[in-house]
């Protein structure tokens, strides 16, 4: 899948560049890409390091277990395959909470740790497990109660009421998450029956 999308973006992109006769810009963009990747990585690195450090304190003190316990009634239903008390559950719950509060920078490290734990109980190491996909659907639809970036951008442009978009955002993202989870459930069930044929 990733294979096709990646090739599609590159082939279409390069062809369009060539047809519109911007070869010089194309060469520049090709070289720029790698430095952009490094830039993004260097932006992420310190944040991930910092939060993984703080999170490790929360793990050692048992705080994350306490949180996971509080969310366990939802997690049990969303992730039926994860054994009870598995460490991935506490990272998943902290990821969900950080996302809801609009703390994207904190949510990512929690999510990465959750994936690491989910990979440990994954039977095929190069293939996404069902729990991983459900977890990513939660993240890609991005339930956020307080969308901090949008509010601050609206303030920057002197909105009369910067927070008026809170409710509409919550409705839209809530529907996206709900819809995503329902589709995920349906597809997973269908695929579950035929998966060894595909």
């Amino acid at each position: 899948m990733m294979n096709k999308i990646w090739a599609f973006f590159l082939v279409v992109g390069i062809t369009t560049f060539l047809f519109t006769g911007r070869v010089e810009q194309l060469n520049k963009e090709i070289l720029d890409s790698s430095s952009k990747a490094i830039e993004l990585l260097f932006q992420l690195f310190p944040i991930i390091a910092l939060w993984l450090g703080i999170m490790n304190i929360a793990v050692a003190s048992g705080l994350l277990d306490k949180m996971a316990h509080k969310l366990s009634f939802i997690l049990k239903r969303l992730f039926p395959e994860i054994p009870k008390g598995h460490p991935s559950l506490k990272y998943i719950s902290s990821n969900i909470i950080a996302n809801m509060l609009g703390l994207g920078s904190a949510a990512t490290p929690f999510g990465l740790k959750a994936m690491e734990e989910l990979q440990k109980i994954n039977s095929k190491k190069d293939t996404a497990s069902r729990s991983m996909i459900t977890f990513l659907v939660l993240n890609t639809s991005g339930v956020t109660i307080i969308p901090t970036t949008i509010i601050s951008m609206r303030m920057m442009y002197h909105s009369v009421n910067p927070t008026e978009i809170l409710l509409p955002c919550l409705l839209a993202t809530g529907m996206a998450t709900l819809g995503g989870l329902i589709i995920d459930r349906i597809v997973a069930k269908k695929r579950g029956k035929y998966d060894h044929f595909i």
Binding site: S33, I54, S61, K124, I133, P162
Partner: protein, 172 residues
């Protein structure tokens, strides 16, 4: 609101620290132990990030999307969708930084309290950058066969964007 969101991260960190003190945890050691793990994660992530940024960068800067969109313009005008928001809807699942840039333009050009400004804000809040999330998370654990995850993620994005349009029409 901003005061609240500014206070949130410090308060969370403070709470984690105080709780750990109360439980007699070796704070400093645990912090170092956790921070060290980031090196592994970053190293594993890098090739996937590079691959994705490379292809998305070429694709977006090729102007392929704007050429296609200019053909479709009459259609969007027919269904009463402001044309200026369309690029943002298409970019939302593909690139987070470009969506923010487009939203920034919309807010400065039309104002945050215009219909377009509000719709843009709600679209931004309705979903997350699916492609980025998939690349980052699957890349960090070395998963190559992503099965149906992309389709479900994109379906959720489409639901989010459609809801954003409906809700903005209804509430404002």
């Amino acid at each position: 609101m901003t005061i609240l969101s500014n206070l949130m991260i410090p308060l969370i960190i403070l709470y984690i620290l105080l709780y750990a003190c109360y439980k007699n945890v070796d704070l400093y050691d645990k912090f170092l132990e956790g921070a060290k793990e980031s090196i592994d994660i970053i190293l594993k992530m890098f090739p996937c990030m590079l691959a994705m940024i490379f292809s998305i960068n070429i694709f977006l800067n090729s102007n392929f999307l704007s050429i296609i969109l200019s053909f479709l313009k009459p259609f969007f005008e027919m269904i009463a969708l402001p044309f200026d928001v369309i690029p943002m809807m298409i970019m939302r699942p593909i690139s987070g930084s470009s969506t923010i840039a487009i939203l920034n333009n919309l807010l400065s050009q039309f104002g945050p309290d215009s219909f377009i400004g509000r719709l843009g804000s709600v679209i931004q809040g309705s979903t997350d950058t699916t492609l980025y999330v998939l690349t980052l998370y699957f890349g960090s654990v070395g998963i190559k066969k992503i099965r149906y995850s992309l389709w479900v993620g994109l379906a959720a994005d489409i639901i989010g964007i459609i809801c954003a349009i409906i809700v903005t029409h209804l509430l404002f």
